[in-house]
């Protein structure tokens, strides 16, 4: 009697375990399936749309030859200058929060605010830059796009710098101080050097993040069919071009959107993998 009860309980427990573990494996399969669907769709539509024209010509009108050169240039240019602004400021801000003010109430508030910025919806950044730069300048411009992306990259770099500086052993700081080195020399010659791979990984991740952003660029950098190298005019970026071309009824332009989607995804995944490899080597 007691044995059958025990057996019943056991079989119920093992039955439930089997069910839940099957569900868990199914969930993991589902995750892989989603990745496969996304990459598969991109490859399926993207590869057939790739051609030399995509890399050598600017966005065409429907029916004529063209490519995405101006959008690729735009993404590279806007991302480059955004990082150029955000990286030094982010590193210095992280330095202040960990090296000079760590533990103080003010620093805690500043860290919290940085985390809020880090996760703020990116379209809000776009709306802000629209009000702060586009309206006074009376039009979309590469500068506005750079400002928006810099504002998105800044908290990422700041946060990574904080995390990496926390990993640097205090003995290093004490040793350089004991040698009589001024603080800035100890930072630039010793502390940054030992945290460098980590900070660089953070910067790479920031590049990966901002080069795929669409929402903050819609009303800041804007969109243009033409090659535009200047700072003050509207400039096309790959994500915004994809957004515009995918909604176009023209089949050729839609194919161009898929080509762009494939290019930007491959580029971003490559940066992500490089960043991961670098971060992995550190440990």
């Amino acid at each position: 009697m007691e044995d059958t009860i025990r057996q019943n309980i056991m079989s119920r427990r093992y039955g439930r375990n089997r069910l839940m573990m099957t569900l868990s494996v199914v969930a993991a399969g589902l995750g892989m399936f989603f990745l496969a669907i996304i990459l598969g769709t991109l490859l399926f539509h993207g590869v057939s749309s790739l051609s030399l024209d995509v890399f050598t010509m600017s966005i065409p009108a429907e029916g004529s030859r063209g490519g995405l050169l101006n959008a690729m240039y735009g993404t590279a240019m806007v991302t480059f200058f955004a990082i150029l602004i955000a990286a030094p400021i982010g590193i210095l801000a992280g330095t202040y929060l960990i090296e000079y003010a760590n533990g103080s109430k003010l620093a805690e508030v500043a860290k919290f605010i940085n985390d809020i910025l880090l996760s703020a919806p990116s379209i809000i950044i776009g709306v802000f830059v629209y009000g702060a730069i586009v309206v006074p300048m009376r039009g979309n411009s590469a500068i506005a796009g750079i400002a928006a992306l810099a504002l998105i990259a800044l908290p990422v770099v700041n946060r990574t710098t904080q995390d990496m500086l926390l990993l640097v052993p205090n003995a290093l700081r004490e040793a350089t101080a004991a040698l009589g080195a001024p603080r800035w020399k100890s930072m630039t010659h010793v502390i940054y050097r030992s945290a460098w791979t980590g900070i660089l990984t953070g910067i790479l991740l920031a590049v990966a993040r901002i080069s795929g952003e669409t929402a903050p660029l819609l009303f800041t950098a804007g969109y243009s069919k033409f090659m535009n190298a200047g700072f003050t005019g509207p400039i096309a970026t790959l994500p915004v071009a994809i957004n515009t071309l995918a909604a176009d009824p023209g089949e050729d332009l839609k194919r161009l959107a898929w080509a762009g989607a494939l290019i930007i995804t491959v580029a971003i995944l490559a940066i992500n993998i490089i960043a991961r490899l670098m971060g992995g080597r550190r440990q």
């Binding site: 969930a27 995750g31 202040y96 919806p121 669409t214 959107a257």
Partner: protein, 323 residues
């Protein structure tokens, strides 16, 4: 005398002058870092100030009734926040209902079941899913998921759940494929890797001793997950879910492509609808005057909403764990 110092003659070094330069350089470096940190804080203030100033005309016109106005119509210049806010809240809620169980499942798989050599590749694959830009989710959703929804899933839902008395109202046509439910599915797939990564990380913080004693007492894997992992990490889990929710609330491009952009308050979750971010992305370009100001007011609401969710998440997680 000379060889030990490479020829430098230290007797002539002016120590006081060097100390002075070093002090000056140190001050400059300090103020550069201080200014950078202050800039980050000022940026948040600037964002708030600009949003509030630009949203002011709306609040001057409608007062707080903007918050519960249910009509959004550009031709008649009537703007109320409810349709877009409801769309944002409902789509994020459904997305979380779908994504959270799947994320927990994957995390349990990765920490408890997965054979060692597969752990890293599968973990990395799911993290890569998080790196895919949101516009890619948008176009894949539009060209793959929307036809599927339109042809198979939504007609099925209308024919089955749609006939049930009360909740049937949620599944009423029209169902052209784009709509809140489609947006929720895309959002769920987007936040999935994000929540999975945090869940896995907090599961890994459970001391091996606890886990092993539980197994040693004869618990099944599910019982270990249920009675040890989840209770031990519940704060981190809730925090991770909140961070995922924050993402879902603010997501723009993935939603804009598949939500249908119809600004009307309705019961059906399968009909075309809108969210705050989709509303801004779609109409900001050609809006002016009161409409523009109302869109910015919506943006301000979204900012406050995601701020609250994030603050809650931080408070749950504790700072050091994850972001």
């Amino acid at each position: 005398m000379v060889d030990a110092t490479n020829g430098a003659d230290f007797s002539r070094v002016d120590v006081a002058a060097i100390t002075k330069t070093f002090k000056l350089q140190d001050r400059i470096f300090f103020f550069m870092t201080l200014a950078s940190a202050a800039l980050v804080v000022l940026m948040l203030l600037a964002i708030l100030v600009v949003l509030v100033i630009d949203a002011l005309p709306t609040f001057q016109t409608y007062g707080l009734s903007f918050l519960w106005g249910t009509v959004w119509s550009a031709p008649t210049e009537k703007f109320g926040a409810v349709p877009a806010v409801m769309g944002t809240l409902i789509s994020s809620l459904i997305a979380m209902l779908i994504a959270v169980p799947i994320s927990f499942g994957i995390a349990i798989f990765l920490t408890e079941l997965c054979p060692g050599p597969l752990r890293r590749p599968i973990g990395t694959a799911i993290e890569l899913l998080a790196g895919v830009p949101s516009i890619i989710y948008g176009i894949v959703g539009l060209f793959v998921l929307v036809p599927l929804m339109q042809l198979y899933i939504l007609p099925f839902l209308i024919a089955t759940i749609g006939q049930v008395p009360v909740i049937g109202y949620l599944f009423q046509p029209p169902a052209p494929g784009v709509g809140l439910l489609t947006a929720s599915l895309v959002l769920a797939i987007m936040v999935l890797p994000f929540i999975t990564a945090i869940t896995r990380d907090v599961f890994l913080t459970v001391p091996p001793m606890l886990r092993e004693s539980a197994y040693g007492m004869g618990m099944t894997t599910w019982e270990v997950a249920r009675n040890i992992l989840i209770p031990y990490t519940r704060r981190g889990l809730v925090g991770g879910v909140m961070l995922g929710l924050g993402r879902a609330l603010g997501e723009t491009m993935a939603v804009t492509f598949v939500v249908g952009s119809v600004t009307r308050l309705q019961a059906s979750i399968i009909s075309p609808s809108t969210t705050i971010s989709a509303q801004i992305a779609n109409t900001f370009g050609e809006a002016d005057g009161l409409q523009l100001s109302s869109l910015i007011a919506l943006g301000l609401l979204l900012f406050i909403l995601s701020f609250c969710v994030l603050a809650l998440a931080k408070w749950m997680i504790g700072r050091s764990d994850s972001f």
